[in-house]
Amino acid sequence: MAAVQETIERVKALDVSEYKYGFFTDIEADKAPKGLNEKIVRFISAKKNEPEWLTGWRLEAYRRWVTMREPNWARVSYPPIDYQELYYYSAPKTALGPKSLDEVDPELLKTYEKLGIPLNEQAILAGVEGAGSDGRIAVDAVFDSVSVFTTFKAELAKAGVIFCPISEAVQTHPELVRKYLGSVVPPTDNFFATLNSAVFTDGSFVYVPPGVRCPMELSTYFRINERNTGQFERTLIIADKGAYVSYLEGCTAPRRDENQLHAAVVELIALDDAEIKYSTVQNWYPGDSEGKGGVFNFVTKRGDCRGANSKISWTQVETGSAITWKYPSCILRGDNSRGEFYSIAISNGYQQVDSGTKMIHLGKNTTSRVISKGIAAGNSQNTYRGQISSHRKATGARNFTNCDSLLIGNDCGAHTVPYIESRNPSTQFEHEATTSKISEDQLFYCMQRGLSAEEATALIVNGFVRDVLQQLPMEFAVEAQKLIAVSLEGSVG
């Protein structure tokens, strides 16, 4: 019962049903003109002082993009996006290339402090009780279009780990960027990935050399601040042979009446015996209780288990965004490689979530595991969409999928759309899904013991998603648990 008591207290201590990250930072920005054309693409590339090959790469993507249409197969509906009404580049004027924390605009530092993301390494050390090196987290902070600061770079460099904004990596490690960029999500992949390829502004770059276990958690914190600004970040993580890295991203945005567009691309590459663990706590502004505003989140995330015995694990806690369209996937190319997807997707208000994964089994004896927990409340729609497929030559492929949905209230919808495609008799695929509501018996039991309906619901939901929460790094599991309670507020009674 100790755990229960703790949860109740935590739930009680939470803020009211306000999106607490909804503030705006008043900071002068350097913006590109509104709209999108080849000139803007060149402008972004020039701002970043990019080599010619990359400018060409962007332009090719742009030319392809103008011939493409927005996909419409997902179960989401939204007013047409006018791509000419957006800004494609916005950077805090003071943010360009700070060498140390002292050079970072104090307004920015305050913003991140308010978000609970301290960028001061000393403060981080002080803030962690009994801090061993394990308790530390290196952070890359991305504010609108650019990375404003990366912590612990020097210490990571000692281990040989490269962790820096991707725009910096283009300058300092062009051979790595050129070799791997677009090798998992090609610039032609889909409408939003192609758009991202043309206009991506920043994002994180990670390279872990052979045999190295990254000495700390790496994390990127994304913040959309500017009005009418699309955020198009690009993340590239390479774990060389035998390397290991755990990476976390977090996201917030100010409350705004209009919608903000976020179209990111994340590429992961795991070579022989390497492992990448990628966790997301996505808490973009979901819009207000009437469904006004909120972030449109169209994200392409894909990992390539390129080497034998490699492993990629995705964990996501999705509570924000008006629209979520994302399918973190694994291409299981290397023999004996393993892919995992653990997801909690919570929707409330008028949120629409269409999320899931793809596990593409190509190599021999590849295994994958999918655990998805969807919770729909309010007037939201919550869809799991997943594809599991095995290639003719993928002998011994195994998948286990479990997706459970929970409905809270009678005006929401929960949907499950799995695609299971098997082309090899030695493949074993197992899929199970359930949809139910919180049992009246459980609620009554908790309420009889003194919990309010809301507390009881949060408690039961936390139990429902436990399998997935356990996959998160400790610090974030606690954060995620709080988020879940907050995002369900107002859903009962």
Binding site: T67, M68, R69, E70, P71, W73, N190, F191, R392, S405, L407, I408, G409, N410, D411, C412, G413, A414, H415, T416, V417, P418, Y419, I420, E421, S422, R423, N424, P425, S426, T427, Q428, F429, E430, H431, E432, A433, T434, T435, S436, K437
Partner: protein, 448 residues
């Protein structure tokens, strides 16, 4: 999935347009029916043959698979019908014979009290608006271009009406017979209206007279009245390589009714079976089962749309596939719980044994749920035979081939046994055994 596709008309689509333009004047039905046909054909023409970008046809790309549209079989002549007398002598009582899609009352058996059967053509001419409405089957979920094509070109079919409260002891058979050696196309649409509280079983069987090469597009609509009890079976076991069979089955289940359906598909070129099941009244129960056994390059697709539009209904969907050779199995099952359909209990399970190294299984069990107080679930498994089971059987002395056969027979037989009716179980288990024996024989042949 993002590039825009503006399909040009395929040869088959062009041929169907021509067949409709030339033939529609001769098709049965007065003005209202003619309008229905025109609208239906226009809907088909707009969408064209379904292809992989249509979600519900993703794994059966008819645009590619249907290379040509065969000429529509002409209505059988009196002489042709007479010549069938000998062939149908062995048919069970209460058989309603459809020859190339045309109802032949003179060859059909006597019906018990409370049951009437007329031809579709007669029903359309009768001007009974409620019948025409039933036949039009304008259901929200049944927005499908193959069904629209069937509505446009339906030549005939049988309308069976079961009186309220009638308890029909012996099953009613709908028998599909095919004439002539020339490959041709057939379009039939039948309707069975079952009155409240009635009790009946409908068995669909095929009589492979001239062989089932050619193309069939059948639709059967079942309207089940409140508190009626209905059993249904379908045997699709007589197909030939190269044949194409499109079967639409629409079932409307009334309040407190009980419905139970089973189908066996053994091969046959290309089969697409689509079932639209609608729980219209509260507290009904409905079960759909199916077994598909495929070899060679056969392709069989079973696609379900099960809508719970009323409270407290229990739906069970249970399908199994055994895929050998280079065959392709498709299972798509979409269970939809409408807003307000509380206390729905819906379960679906699709299991596949993949035997052939070149075989493919595609499953898509979907849930779409808009009510919170429900218990819904689905499961899907796909894999080879269980190695532990095989080993266990072998340690008990069964040679590998016998162990495999036992497990395959059990896998398919489990669903057959749920039919409960002794005669049906025996007949369908015999079909399964025959398929397994034929498979074993061809294995020995190819091994030799």
């Amino acid at each position: 999935m993002t590039a825009q596709i503006i399909p040009s008309r395929t040869a088959a689509e062009a041929a169907l347009a021509e067949a409709f333009a030339n033939g529609k004047a001769g098709l049965p039905g007065a003005e209202a029916v003619a309008r229905l046909r025109d609208e239906s054909f226009a809907a088909f023409a707009r969408a064209g043959l379904p292809h992989r970008r249509i979600e519900s046809w993703h794994y059966t790309d008819l645009r590619t698979l249907m290379r040509e549209a065969l000429p529509i079989a002409p209505a059988p002549t009196r002489e042709q019908l007479e010549s069938l007398r000998k062939e149908i002598a062995a048919l069970p009582a209460q058989s309603l014979l459809l020859v190339d899609g045309v109802f032949a009352p003179e060859l059909s058996g006597a019906l018990p009290q409370g049951v009437t059967a007329t031809s579709l053509a007669a029903a359309l001419a009768s001007g009974r608006p409620e019948l025409i409405e039933s036949l039009a089957a304008a259901w929200a979920d049944a927005d499908d271009s193959i069904l629209a094509l069937n509505a446009a070109l339906m030549l005939d079919g049988v309308i069976v009406e079961i009186a309220p409260g009638a308890k029909i002891a012996e099953p009613i058979h709908i028998v599909y017979a095919t004439l002539g050696a020339e490959p041709s196309a057939r379009f039939s649409r039948s309707l069975v209206k079952i009155g409240a509280g009635a009790c009946v079983r409908i068995d669909e069987i095929s009589l492979g007279l001239g062989g089932r090469t050619g193309q069939t597009n059948n639709a059967l609509i079942l309207e089940i009245g409140d508190a009626a009890e209905v059993g249904h079976t379908l045997a699709l076991t007589d197909g030939r390589p190269g044949s194409m069979r499109l079967e639409s089955f629409l079932v409307k289940v009334g309040a407190r009714a009980k419905f139970d359906s089973f189908a066996l598909i053994t091969g046959a070129g290309l089969v697409r079976r689509q079932i639209f099941k609608l729980f219209e009244g509260p507290d009904a129960q409905g079960t759909l089962r199916g077994v598909s056994l495929l070899r060679g390059r056969e392709h069989a697709d079973t696609t379900l749309f099960v809508r719970h539009a009323a409270t407290g209904c229990r739906g069970r969907q249970n399908f199994r596939y055994i895929l050998d050779g280079e065959s392709t199995g498709v299972f798509q099952g979409k269970v939809i719980v409408s807003p307000g359909a509380q206390k729905t209990d819906g379960k679906m399970l699709a299991k596949t044994l993949l035997l052939g190294a070149e075989a493919t299984m595609n499953s898509r069990p979907e849930l779409e749920i808009f009510a919170d107080d429900v218990i819904c679930g689905h499961g899907a498994t796909c894999g080879g035979l269980n190695a532990d089971q095989l080993f266990y059987l072998e340690t008990r002395g069964l040679p590998p081939a016998a162990a495999e056969a036992l497990l395959l027979d059990a896998f398919a037989g489990e669903l057959v046994d749920e039919l409960g009716h002794q005669g049906l179980v025996a007949a369908y288990r015999a079909e399964v055994a025959a398929w397994l024996a034929a498979r074993a024989k061809s294995e020995t042949r190819s091994a030799a």
